[in-house]
Symmetry: C2
Subunit: 447 residues, 2 copies
């Protein structure tokens, strides 16, 4: 679910109306919810960042180099030749029954014991997140999320006019006491909190994992407050050294909706994800899914099902782990070697992302055009907050470039940071006045 596409999902932040909107004769016809649908300021820079000469530490695309394309091609050909009348036909909105059974085996690796009937297969777990928000959130409802949080989730919450309240994280993830205070404050304001949206493992963008000791406490806080928990877990099986953590869903099946995805463990382009939900909620999700896409593509579901049945999918995940671990090591090593004093960053034990905080006086969004000019790209931190925070933060991705490219990207970024710091020492916080806003461009097909 978490890809650089999500960068354009950043509609929780204010953004100047584009020329297209100003000239839009249909402007007065739009629904109120459409007002929040404006293109991210990073969109234009993102297209630039996708140029080959730029080392992109911005993208969240999984690296598919480890996939056995020839054997997958042979499997898919056999599937279409032998079961094409099913694979190319409509299916149910609930999802392919065999795949739903296999998904239970995948979730069992993190301690989840679910029933196939309580799973709904979706077009990527982004669609599961959309459906959950659709059935639960009225305009003005509160969604609690970690600060920072997945930008694509912030975009979905904004599309349903839900208001996001961020709760602080520390090195062990979401801070229980901060969650208590946020819930108490919302209650004091008479606001309806619909759910906690959390990414417990190898957080995007924070690169932090929720300590196991905190999990039961956070579940108890939400249960006491009558607040659902949406557990978004696309990276859970990408723990380095094969480390996995017990899913929140495994600890409180009745109050947790679990969102899963094959985008990071198999192939993002198939767009196969799922939600595991309490039975009555699952029924609502299926009806909402029918109104959205009728059904997820049968071919894609059957490809994933065959892959799980005929390939060493656990070995495949292991090879992904090793590849990403090598890249994580390269990025962290280069940061240690090159970053100027005052920069701090997280040290993820899985997933795709490192979250860096830069010294006072640097605005990461203002600095980004100069970074891209220096042929390195990152995502400014403000995109991961619904409240404008994050101007001293940035997300660095280690999932896609080679270790050598990662080291080169960090070298380039360190030079830009040194120059910014020198400017700040000399002239003060002028960086604050150089925020640029790029024109709208189509999203790149790959970046």
């Amino acid at each position: 679910m978490h890809s650089e596409e999500s960068l354009e999902g950043n509609r929780g932040l204010p953004s100047a109306p584009s020329a297209g909107q100003n000239l839009d004769p249909h402007l007065r016809r739009y629904a109120a919810r459409a007002a929040g649908m404006t293109a991210s300021e990073v969109r234009a820079l993102f297209a630039v960042a996708s140029r080959p000469e730029v080392v992109s530490l911005a993208g969240g695309m999984p690296n598919l180099a480890a996939l056995p394309l020839d054997s997958i091609a042979a499997e898919v050909a056999g599937l279409i030749a032998s079961e094409g009348m099913t694979a190319l036909q409509y299916g149910s909105a609930h999802g392919y029954p065999l795949l739903r059974e296999q998904i239970c085996d995948v979730m069992a690796l993190e301690g989840v014991t679910g029933h196939p009937d309580d799973i709904v297969v979706t077009v990527g777990s982004q669609m599961a997140l959309d459906l959950v928000t659709r059935i639960f959130c009225d305009p003005g409802d509160i969604v609690i999320a970690e600060g920072p949080s997945y930008v694509g989730a912030l975009g979905t919450f904004a599309a349903y006019q839900a208001n996001v309240v961020h709760v602080a994280m520390d090195g062990e993830g979401l801070v229980p006491e901060a969650l208590r205070q946020a819930l108490a404050a919302a209650a004091a304001r008479g606001q309806r909190v619909k759910f906690l949206y959390t990414i417990p493992n190898f957080h995007n963008p924070a690169g932090i994992t929720l300590a196991v000791a905190r999990r039961a406490e956070i579940l108890e806080i939400c249960r006491q407050a009558g607040v659902l928990v949406i557990e978004d877990n696309p990276y859970g099986l990408l723990g380095f050294d094969g480390q996995t953590y017990p899913a929140l869903r495994s600890m409180d099946p009745d109050n947790v909706i679990y969102l899963g995805s094959f985008s990071k463990t198999f192939a993002s382009g198939l767009r196969v994800g799922w939600a595991l939900a309490p039975h009555a909620v699952r029924e609502k999700l299926v009806l909402a899914a029918e109104a959205t896409t009728l059904c997820p593509p049968m071919l894609n579901q059957m490809i994933v099902s065959r892959f799980l049945a005929t390939h060493d999918w656990k070995g495949q995940i292991k090879s992904f782990q090793l590849m990403y671990q090598e890249r994580r090591d390269a990025l962290l090593g280069a940061l240690e070697q090159h970053m100027p004093a005052g920069c701090t960053w997280t040290k993820p034990d899985g997933g795709f992302f490192v979250w860096m905080t830069v010294p006072e006086g640097i605005d990461t969004k203002a600095m980004q055009p100069r970074a891209v000019t220096a042929r390195v790209a990152y995502v400014p931190g403000t995109g991961f907050y619904a409240d404008g925070f994050g101007s001293r933060q940035m997300r660095l991705s280690f999932c896609y470039p080679t270790p050598e490219r990662l080291r080169e990207g960090v070298r380039r970024l360190a030079v830009v940071l040194e120059q910014e710091l020198e400017l700040y020492r000399t002239f003060g916080p002028v960086a604050q006045h150089r925020i640029t806003s790029g024109p709208q461009t189509p999203a790149p097909d790959t970046a």
Copy 2:
């Protein structure tokens, strides 16, 4: 877009809450829009209707028998082996650029001259309909649709709490004067009409095509009223004898959003559809799509693109036309031969569906369980109206069964109708009191 899945999309009509809802501990947490998300009463009967011994005149599944599975399998294998790193990776929410160019060639067959940049590729045209409704409809807004209309569209409108006003059709389609009156009545009530949703060609479920002479008039009425036109055209290339009609979009590019699909002309299971919209609207649709699924599956888009590039796709469409025409002839011939006096039906010149009206005293929903007992299934007319009309109508599909099965189905249906008429003559309209409501069951994977 129009499949029997849409039968479960019937959420515009009142429906008793299911046991699942009554026992749902999350009931108080749902958004207001979720209240309309209840399973259709025909769901259970639909599962029964999918049994092999039942001749289903209910389903709207395309018949894929004419597809060259082996050559498609070979093409897809080649695609994955040579372009797998792209086909299995995230794409853009806008859609695969080459496919968007090819879609322009497809639409040109109906006189549409669109720009690839103004197309957004969606997960079936159902998703395009969902996105259009999402960006335009606030709760309480009015959508005008033909009476009857596509049940899946009624479900989507209900999911966004839009209110549907039906406008009458005659043998030449939507009646312009009835549209004027509906717009005037809405204006008099101070209601906001957001768009006209229309299926101009080989209408689902009515089997009627909008007369060419009426098209400009209807477009002018909507333009004068400041009302957008949503042209849903999944069957337009399935006109018998190769007959096509000029798309509404070709006559008024600035005020028509065109929805297209490869589900009926290639393969429904790939879930590849599109919207062609005025530029500013297209930008909103892309942003809404990003928040919904991030991007449509790249593999599916590239499969369709290869099929269009390497196969005789026009010849493929021709073979679909001939297959459906033979089935249409079989159904109409059998209706002429077997239906009791007082039954009337439309005579489609393309598409999948015949709309039949039965004599007074027969309630098609009440009769349906007995029809299924007699091993024939249809869809009661009420599902195609948001206002409860249609109790004397039914939709008969000729797309899937063989001509022989179609004739047998009509013979069985005629016997049931004769028995109902005899009951009515003897006892009066007792049928009105035998409406049944089936329990919820998962939708069948195929039916």
